[in-house]
Each structure stands twice: as C-alpha cells, then as structure tokens.
Symmetry: C2
Subunit: 382 residues, 2 copies
Amino acid sequence: MDHFTYYNPTKVEFGVGKESLIGQHLAEARVKKVLLCYGSDRIKRDGLFDVVTKSLAEKNVQFVLCGGIVSNPVISKVREAISLARLHQVDAILSVGGGSVLDSAKAIAAGVPYTGDVWDLFIGKASIDSALPVFDILTLAATGSEMNSGAVITNEDTKEKFAIQSPLTFPKVSIVNPALMKTVSRDYLVYSAADIIAHAIEGYFTAVDQPRFHSRLVEAIINTVIENTEILLANPDNYAARAEFAWASTQALNGLIYSGTAGYSYPNHMIEHALSALFNVPHGAGLSVVIPAWMKWYQDRNPLQFERFAQNIFGLKTAEQGIAALENWFNKIGTPTRLAQLGITEAHLPATIDIVLTNAKWFGLADIYTKDVATTILKSAL
Amino acid sequence: MDHFTYYNPTKVEFGVGKESLIGQHLAEARVKKVLLCYGSDRIKRDGLFDVVTKSLAEKNVQFVLCGGIVSNPVISKVREAISLARLHQVDAILSVGGGSVLDSAKAIAAGVPYTGDVWDLFIGKASIDSALPVFDILTLAATGSEMNSGAVITNEDTKEKFAIQSPLTFPKVSIVNPALMKTVSRDYLVYSAADIIAHAIEGYFTAVDQPRFHSRLVEAIINTVIENTEILLANPDNYAARAEFAWASTQALNGLIYSGTAGYSYPNHMIEHALSALFNVPHGAGLSVVIPAWMKWYQDRNPLQFERFAQNIFGLKTAEQGIAALENWFNKIGTPTRLAQLGITEAHLPATIDIVLTNAKWFGLADIYTKDVATTILKSAL
C-alpha cells in the first residue's frame, strides 16, 4: 500500500427531513447570504424549495436564486453565476440538486474570489487559493460530489470537459435525504448506477497498487449498487434501498477506496467525457456504453483482477464471463451499452476520438490511449 | 438505514517516514509547545524519539516529556499529565505510541481546560466544552483511536473503565507509519487482531438496523485482518500486510461502519473492560476470551447474521460453525480463548460480574446483561 494523506472534512447529514437543518448549519458557519443554485423548477413543484427557504428564513439567511443549471453543466453558466454572486456579495454557495448543480456550485465558489476567468482554474493556468464555503442538499445519488472536492464542468466553446479539485472545495455540510430521491426517473436511476459502478471500477482495475482490502471495499460498493438498483426498479419507494444506494455512492468517490493505491486513472470517464461534451448524452448512459468496451480492451493488462471481479461480483469464473455479465446487467436494467442507442454512429467517431485524445493529454494518459486504442474501444461499442 | 451525521475531520498521514512531518503539521496549526506523551522508553531505543524531536526542533516547536503511560491507561496518570501541561502551558498534546497513549492524550487534552477533576468528564458530571488539539504518531494498530474522538481510561480506585467522546477530541493529524509497527511483539499483534475484529463485530451482530452494505464493509475488514495477521505471523517484515492491517484497523472504528445502524452496543467491550480493569490483562487478550463465549450466548438473537458471518468469513454454513471457526482461529494465532489462560478462575467471577453489572449500567445494557446472563457468559469462558 502506497503512502497517502487522507483528509475529508465534509459533514454529512443523512436521512429523512435533514434538509430542514440547512438554515441552522449556515447560521453556525455565520453565513448571512447564499447563492441558491438549482437546476429545473422541479424543486419548486415538489416542495423542497419551500422547505429550504423556510429553513433559511428561520435563521435569517438571505438568498439569491440561480436556477437553470443543466446536466453536463457548462462554464458559461458558472461565469454568469459568479457575476451574480459578486453583485449580491453572497458569502456562501448553496447547491440544491444533483452532481451537476453541486459541481457548478464548487466552481462558482472557487471562481468568485479569483480575479481572472474561472476556466483558468480548470486548465491549470491558475490555482485555487481561496473559495467561498459550499453547502448542499443532494437530490440524486451518483457523482459522489457531496463528499469530495472535485467538480467537472464542460466548456461549450472548446468541447472540453475538465475538472478542478482543491481542499478548499470540499462541501462544508452535505445533506443527503434518500427520500428526496424517490422521484428520480427510472432512466436516471440506472444511469446513476452505471456512474457509481464506474467510480468503483476505475481504480479496481487500473490502480498502480491495489490492496486486497480496497478490492473488498470496492466489491462491497458494487454489490450494494447492483442489489439496490434491482430493488428500486421493482419498488421506487423502498427507502432502505434508496439509502444503501446513496451511501454506497458517497463512499465510491470520497477518497476511501483511492487511499493507498499509488494513484489510478479514470479511462472510462476520460472517454465518456468526450461523448457527453460532444453529444450531451447523460454521463451515466455514456459510461455504461464505454465500460464494457473498455473492459474488453483492458482485461489482458490485469487478468487476475478481472477474474476476481467475475467471481466476487457475479459468482463467475473468467474475465470474459465477468465483462459479459456486467454488460448483460446494464442491458437488463435498461442503461445503454451501445453507441447506437445514444444516436452515435461510425460517422461521429473521428470527432469523438479527437476529443478523447485531447482528454487523454489532460488525464495524463496519452501514452496509453492513442488514436488506435481509442478507435478500437469506440468501434467495439458501436 | 437510520438517519445519522457523519463527521470525521482527522487528517491521516499514512506511510513510511511520515513521522518526520509532525513538526510541520504542528507549525501549520501554530503550536508552539507540546506535551509529548509516550509509554515506555522503547521509542527512545528504536530511534523514533530522535526523529520526532528533530522534526519538532526544525519547526521551533518546544516539548515537555510525559512518559510512562501504561496499557489500560489510568486516570491518575492523566491527572498528573494535566498538571504538567498546565504548569508548562503547552498548547497541544502529542501522542507517540499506541491506543493507550493516544487515549490518555485525548483525556489530557480535554482535562487541561476543565476546572474540575477530569474523571467528571467520564462519568457525565461535566461535558467537554473545550480541549487542546491532539496530534499523534501511532505505533500500534488496534484501537482505531487515531481516527475517532473516543478515549477509554481506567479509574484504579473505582475499577471503572469508562470512555469520553467529543467532536473536540478528534486528533487533528494522525501519523500512521506501518513500518514503525514491525517491532510489535507477536503477542500484541494477535491481541490487536482480536481488538479490531471486536470493533467490527460488535455492530455486525447488535446493530438495531444493519444495512447489507455495512455487513459487506465489516466483512471486508474482518477478512483483511485475518488474512494479514497470518501473513505477519509468518513474516513480521511484510510491509504490505502491516499496511492493510493498519488501515483496516482505522476503518473499523472511525464511524464508517456505525453510520446508519441506528446505534449498536459494545457488549464484548463492556464485559472485557471488567477483566482489564480488575486483572490488568491486555484488552485484546480479554476480548478474544469474551467474544466466542458471548457469540454462543447471543447467536439466537440474530441467527441470520450469524449464518452470514459463518459463510462470508469462513465459508461455512451454520452459526455454530462460524463461532467455532473464529474460536479456532484465535487459538491458532495464539490469543487466549479461555479465562484460565488469563489466570482468571471461578473464584474471581463474583468480583468480575460485579464490575460487568456496573459497566452494563454505563453502557445502557443493564436490561439485557443481568447477573444471570453475565454469569452464563463468563462461566462458559472459564
């Protein structure tokens, strides 16, 4: 096990009704005015907006609204929100939504005190030296953003989908109420399952050093996601299954399974980011297409771990059986496994591969993911 | 899954040579003078003391020595250290040692700013409103104290072994270098294995709500401890095994497997605390005696989970088989499973049971652990 520093100061408030604590947490942090970020007006229709604003009012926390944040969130919206935050001199960012809203909130929080253009922070032109505190109420369990310091944003002009990460962008308090997630659509539930599994297996297969303890933790996460996705597809109101699904999602990307691995890469995310940046497909849907194709290409680099996966996730024996079982499971739950299902054809591949190669540079993976390799993987996913 | 708040702000510095970072971490926290707590002079003989004091000197951090902290640490020593800390006006406590030293450090840290007697904080006569910051360099992986806010101390006068817990007593920085642990004796290695397994199974069997995700995480911890204990008994210099053992130990008691369980009890610790308070036996050795006896008595209250344990830890089928396999494994690694091995006979039982019953009140378990039950469990461990 390699050396590491583990630090995760986010306080997670988990459970039914916890969203009504938001005013109290903001007041304890001496926050007077927040930029309240959200996506669609769904939060107004389902009553969450009223609960949140009532909680803020009770603690005399003012808010400025910033709605309309979309899936695969974009840097133009982040820029707009930064201007709004400066204009109203907010002293914290509050995200009410899923990973897209929360990632935007982190980018806004880092962008407000930075004097240049916020995209500089994504391309390494400047580092994050200061950030407003971020608080969030999570409405979709998938990205793990609620307990990590990362944020992924798309630049619509350059078609780049890049990330920031800083100890300053951990949420101060994340409120995770699984009951709020029962209205998540069937499609987004299965895309989320694919996203969590992707977070778990990127390191499982690519880690420089993969302690068996970590493999066991990853298997605990994946088996929990598979089991509870099936329960939720049959009964979306099963709170216990929502809760296990959500907490497994948080653990998949909060540093626990990363610590001590000597680092690992995110090739499935790297490839998928090209799909969602170019074609605006849901991130999880893109991942469930990329993963089986990538696994088929990658398996010979880590054959024992692929056998372990087959055995400990599906009770099967060979690497090929494990990959086929995961692909079949994705098909069974109804998340795509073919580019065609996303409307992407062979004619789209050259442009896609260009972006994959650009991403590979940023991910530090250009040596491995050459044009030939990217073509092989994506063609096998057609 | 029940509602919960997860918060663990401890920064863990894990890996070879990390102890030399202690000066830097103290300086970053603006600490000028520490009370340097330790146990025996072993840390002076093996060079650790020199590394630590050199690191402090480089950052101009002064220190006051407080050695001689013993296993099953005692409140008289904590009181003495509090006086010393006040006299020298230290502004942090630095623990260099295992769980006993670290638990003492936490008690000292909470006791310094408290005007009454520190034992008040253990018996609920006063609450912890303030504490000096605690830093530590861990030399034994067992208690999990490096990433939690608890501390267990024995009152020699009353024979009570009680705990404090407060958000203020989380270590700020815990340095865990598994290489420092290769000189741990064979006996203390196996006692530590029993202690970690105890932390993992208390909740596994007694949780009000035991999500399957949590069961899987617990099984990951136990299987890791079993596997790596065996590797280390064969080869104490195996760094990878030390590291997995240490990190599993940390995860067993940092809140991860507790969150969402609606609470659970620590009956094995409750019973064992009577043994170590009365007879000063090593905590882990006491636990490996208590656990099989307790499991035999408790199994009918949670039969499915005991079957799960048999299957997922030992590949066996029935509850009885799982309990026997654990007892056999304790015997195999050489940690005691009978009171007689600790020099405790039937003649000692009445006094022991008295303390167990006192503990049961403090643990909130007096309804379950009556005199009859305590007698049954302890007699079966003779």
